[in-house]
Every structure is written in C-alpha cells, then in structure tokens.
C-alpha cells in the first residue's frame, strides 16, 4: 500500500456552507490520501459529509454559498485555488465522476452517445468520427451489448444498470487518473450492484486509476475497497486498510457501525442501533469529540479536548482517545432504558 504513488492528497480541508449569513463546516479538517491503483472507500451515515467531500475536490458544489479552505494536491498543485476554467481542464479529464442515481444524473433530452461524447469535445481534439467511434468503444467497454443502438437511445429507454454503465462510460471517457464514485450502486438492484462494482474494479485494474468510492454500504466496502476512511459529522474518524478495519476496528463509531450490520449467524432479537442522531450542520459541537454525545456512558475524561488523529499501527489512524475505554456492555444494559 505504502509503495504506490499518491495521486491526490487532501490536507486540512474545510468546506463550509452558508446558512443565514453564518458559515458552517460540513467538512472539518479532513486529511486523506488517494493512491494509484487503490479503492479508497469513504463510509459514513447520511449527512456526514462524504458527498460534500467528493464535490469539494473539483469544486462541483453550487457556487456562491460555499467556501473551501485547505489543500487538495493533484500533480503538486492545489486545486482549491484553481479558477473555474482551470478546474474544467481537470474535471472529466483527470478526475471522472460517477453519481448515485443514473436516471437523474443523465440529461433526459440528450442521446446517450452525445452525452458520452460531450467530455471528449472539451478535452480532446478528436474529429466527429473519432468521437463517435470512441463513444461506441466506451459503451462496449462498460459491457453494453448493442452500442450502436444504445448510443442513439435516450436515458429513459435504458434499465437502471445500463444507465449506470453509461455513467461509468462518461466518467472514463478521457481515461481519468482518478475516479470519484458517489454511491454508484445505491440506486440499483443487488444483483446489478455486484456487476457494476466488478466493472469498476476491472476498469481500474486496466488503468491503474485511483477510485474514491463513497458509500454507506459496508458490504460494498468489504467487497472492493483496499483502504477505508470512516467519516462522522464532517470529520474522518478512522482510516485503515480494509482487512484491518473489519478485523480490528477501534473508534467507537466504527465499531458501532460494524455492530449494527444484521448478521445471520448472530442471534439477536433486535437490530443493533447507535443511539441519537448525527448532529445537523447548525448544531455541530464546536469543540471536543463529535461522537461523545452518542456514547454518553463513556466518561468525559476518556475524550481528548481537541481530538487528533493517532496512528496506532502502520496505516491505521483513529481520531480521539475515547476508543481505549469504549465498550458495548454498558450500552447493552442501557438499551432497556433507552427504548
């Protein structure tokens, strides 16, 4: 893992949204590295900032009400300071995006072929014929059986799985070094999910690209990720190689997440849940461990005042110190009271 070259380095990234004249951090001090030829999974609950992180990288968030501070290093340059024009050279060309819902992510009025060719128009000097040929080649590459016909069709004429294949074809059109997949399988059937994931990995192995896979599905993570970053309330709270994370999770949040996966071999009568909710952006605690309110039985002294990332073994980082004293037993006894 450590041998591969870093493609993208995110250092001290803060993304904040303006709500009624005050800026709130949706991303708080995120440090991450995406390496060549790896799948970095970003995991977390809804609203923890994973999608915001993805859009921050190439400035895709709606302009005007958003500020991004920090460093996003790509080829030694900080993308945060890039102008819209310079970002447009990176978007689609160096960094490809795959979005969650392929139906709404495709323009309903445009033929599939045209939508694939669009990126090529702006990033390459191909002629019309070359672009057409490339679009068909891409459709073939993502496993679409009848590229000529599909290229002439409109998004609504395709199935969900085919649409997501088209999205992938769009993302890889210019052979990007980095692919950012924002919940690429969430809107799909389970059987199609596996196909799409296989396709992503297959394409990655051909190009050695780095994939940032954003998901809340731990099953997906276990299947395809090489490293995992767990996010909670705008912060990365644990980073580890995938096996290490599943075998030896440290942070209370990660452990609660893994504990909440229903398992057939374990005989639980009730679903394991994490009590409380992710605080909303405006109610985010200003200091201290952001997960503390959800594990009230852990004493305050166990948390750091300003939680930092600690490397506890090579490549395994955990935020705060509360993991050292955390256990589930007390939650078990508390459950009766809570529910």
């Amino acid at each position: 893992m450590t041998l591969s070259k870093p493609l993208l380095e995110i250092n001290h990234l803060f993304t904040s949204f303006r709500i009624k004249d005050t800026y709130y951090d949706a991303i708080h001090d995120v440090n991450l590295t995406l390496n060549e030829n790896e799948v970095l999974a970003i995991v977390g609950e809804s609203g923890c900032g994973k999608s915001t992180l993805a859009t921050s990288i190439v400035g895709l968030h709606p302009p005007g009400n958003t500020t991004v501070i920090g460093e996003i290093l790509y080829k030694g340059e900080n993308l945060v300071n890039y102008s819209e024009d310079k970002l447009n050279k990176i978007r689609g060309n160096d960094i490809g995006f795959i979005f969650q819902d392929p139906l709404s992510a495709l323009n309903p009025l445009m033929r599939i072929g045209d939508q694939i060719e669009e990126g090529l128009v702006f990033h390459t000097k191909m002629t019309d014929q070359e672009r057409k040929a490339r679009a068909l080649e891409l459709l073939d590459q993502v496993g679409i059986v009848n590229p000529e016909r599909v290229a002439r069709q409109f998004p609504h004429q395709l199935s969900g799985g085919m649409r997501q294949r088209v999205m992938i074809a769009i993302a890889i059109a210019c052979k990007p070094r980095i692919m950012i997949a924002d919940e690429p399988t969430t809107a799909l059937d389970v059987t199609i999910q596996a196909q799409i994931l296989d396709l992503l990995i297959e394409l990655q192995q051909e190009t050695n690209a780095g994939i940032m896979l954003i998901t809340h599905d731990l099953g997906v993570v276990a299947e395809v990720a090489t490293r995992v970053a767990v996010m909670y309330a705008g912060q990365v709270i644990e980073v580890a190689p995938v096996e290490e994370l599943f075998r030896n999770p440290k942070h209370p949040y990660t452990r609660s997440l893994l504990n909440s996966i229903p398992q057939t071999e374990r005989d639980h009568d009730r679903l394991q849940v994490i009590q409380g909710m992710v605080p909303t952006l405006t109610k985010m605690p200003k200091s201290g461990c952001r997960f503390a309110p959800r594990i009230p039985w852990v004493s305050e002294n166990a948390h750091e005042v300003e939680p930092q990332m600690h490397e506890i073994s090579p490549g395994h980082l955990v935020r705060c110190t509360c993991w050292q004293t955390f256990n589930f037993e007390e939650q078990e006894t508390k459950e009766g009271v809570v529910q």
Binding site: F99, N107, I170, A173
Partner: protein, 320 residues
C-alpha cells in the same frame, strides 16, 4: 404518431358534441328570437309569426338542433342579423385579421419573454433578475385595457408613431408591398401591447424552471465532465427548462386566435375579439353560437397541438 393524431381527432367528436349541446341549450335560454332585431313599429306581427314558422322556431328542440348541426357541417352558420352577411364569411374576414395579429403577437411575446426569463433565472437575485421580476409583476398587475389605452394615447395620438385604428390604410391596393407593409404597420402597436402583457407568465415559468434545473443532477454530471458553465446552460439547462414553455405554445397559438377582446376593441382592430363583443352587444345569436363553438374547437385543437409539440421536444413523451 399519425395514428395518435387521428385518434385524438376522433376523441374530439364526442367532446364537440357535448359542447354543441351546451351552446344550443344556452342559446335556447337566451331571451328573444332571431327576429327580435327585425321588429320595427311597421312590422306586422302576423308576418313575424309566419317568419318564425318558416325558420322552424316552433319545431321540437332536437329537430332544431339537428338543423343547426348539419348546417354547421356544411359551413353554414346562418346569417348575422347585425351585419347582414353570412356568419361564415364574417368570421373568415375577421379571422384572417386576427390570425396575423396573433402570429405577430405570439412571436413578439416569445422573442421578449425567453431572453428575459433566461437572464432572470440564470442570474437569480441579482439586480438584473430583480428588474425583470419587477417588470413582470408590473405588467401582470396592469389590466389590458388600461395599458392599451395608455399605449394608444402615447404612441398613437401624442407621438403619432402608429395608426390608431383599422388594419390597413385607405388607398392601398391589395397584393402590393405597400398594402402588406401597411398591414404590418397597423399590427405593431396592438401586438406590442399584447406581448407586453403576455410575457409575464412565460418569464416567470422560465425563470423558475431554470432555477430548478440548475440544481438537477444532470447539471452536476455536465459540470463534472469539465464543460464550461456557459455551455452547461445552453446544452443542458435551457433545453430542459423550455419544455413547459413548449407545452404552452399550442394553447397560446390557438388561444390567441380567439382574439383579444380588449385589445381589438380599443385599437379598433376588426378581429375575432371585437366581433365577439359586437355580437354580444347586438344579440347576434348566430354569430355568438358560431364563435363559442369555434373557441371550443380551438381549445381542443390547442391541447392536441401542445401534446404534439411536447412529444417532439421531449423524447420521454411519445404518444403511441
């Protein structure tokens, strides 16, 4: 496609039947009879009675209805009592005037409304947007007849830029360029008045559609491909925002064929709207019924036209 159009026309038959029944019943309820207008102190009541007999006034209602409908199919809408000519030729003349006025009005409306709506939507909450929204509120708030009178006063009487009534200057020969330009010249002021007021809804529609489309996922996809924002607007946002406007087009074409009562009346423009008012004032029943029937037909045609236009611009809608 053609099969659907034909089928839609067939569906219009029962709709028109219900409409014609309603109009017939309403006409029967109206006070007076076709000969009321002919009564003068010299009229012999016996002669009047004889005329009523001849015209089938005492026939059962279904016989009368049958006569009316079958005549209509032959293009015979009866005679106008006030103009003393056949209703068909009357509507033909007036309809042609209104047709030209409508065409120019609709074209002007869309020429003004689309750029304004697009600018307001794209530069939401800027000074430009606020100015346009203010304009659309003002134009929405002004009643047609007030604006028409103001325009007529300023541009017609004070500045004398445009003629104040009629459709063509006296002395121009039909078929010459002078005649044509004279016609266009007479159209401009009423058309501008109409457009000034009709743009409101289109601007507001387009503005909110564009604001809405900006947040759609496919816009994010387009941006993620590295397409410059200007191109994202022209290639993705505008086309999707224009769909409801396109759907509106069918109605606005046929709707305006009915003529604008206020504008035509105030500008002394002999079109359908003016005819409608005149026929109501003059109790010209045969003209009223023919016009109401025609308006109903145009409304149905408008919805069909809108569906066809929408199916052309939106691939998701295929009428099969």
């Amino acid at each position: 496609m053609w099969k659907t159009v034909v089928r839609r026309f067939l569906i219009m038959i029962p709709q028109l039947f219900v409409l014609s029944m309603l109009i017939f019943i309403l006409a029967k309820f109206m006070p007076g009879d076709p000969f009321t207008g002919l009564i003068t102190p010299q009229t012999d009541p016996a002669r009047l009675e004889e005329l009523r007999q001849q015209a089938g006034f005492y026939d059962p209602w279904y016989v009368q209805y049958w006569h009316w409908v079958t005549n209509m199919f032959r293009g015979d809408f009866g005679d106008s009592y006030t103009f003393k000519v056949s209703v068909a030729s009357l509507i033909g003349d007036r309809g042609l005037n209104t047709l030209w006025l409508s065409l120019v009005s609709v074209i002007l409306t869309y020429l003004i409304a689309i750029p304004l709506g697009v600018i307001a939507g794209r530069y939401q909450n800027t000074l430009r947007d606020k100015t346009i929204v203010l304009y659309s509120f003002v134009s929405y708030a002004i009643p047609t007849f007030v604006l028409a009178l103001i325009f007529l006063y300023i541009f017609g009487y004070q500045l004398q830029w445009f003629p104040t009534s009629g459709t063509v200057s006296v002395g121009e020969d039909p078929g010459t360029w002078g005649y044509f330009w004279s016609k266009v010249y007479h159209l401009i002021l009423p058309a501008i008045t109409y457009a000034f007021l009709a743009t409101t809804s289109i601007i507001q529609y387009l503005r909110s559609e564009i604001i809405d489309a900006q947040t759609q996922d496919f816009v994010k996809t387009a941006r993620s491909k590295g397409i410059p924002m200007n191109k994202v607007y022209t290639r993705h946002i505008f086309r999707n925002s224009l769909l409801p406007i396109a759907a509106f087009l069918g109605f606005s074409i046929t709707g305006i064929l009915g003529g604008s009562v206020f504008i035509e009346t105030i500008f002394g423009f002999p079109g359908m709207g003016q005819l409608f008012i005149q026929s109501i004032m003059g109790r010209d029943y045969s003209v009223i019924t023919a016009l109401v029937m025609l308006y109903g037909f145009l409304a149905l045609l408008g919805s069909l036209l809108s569906d066809i236009i929408l199916s052309i611009v939106d691939p998701r809608i295929r009428i099969e």
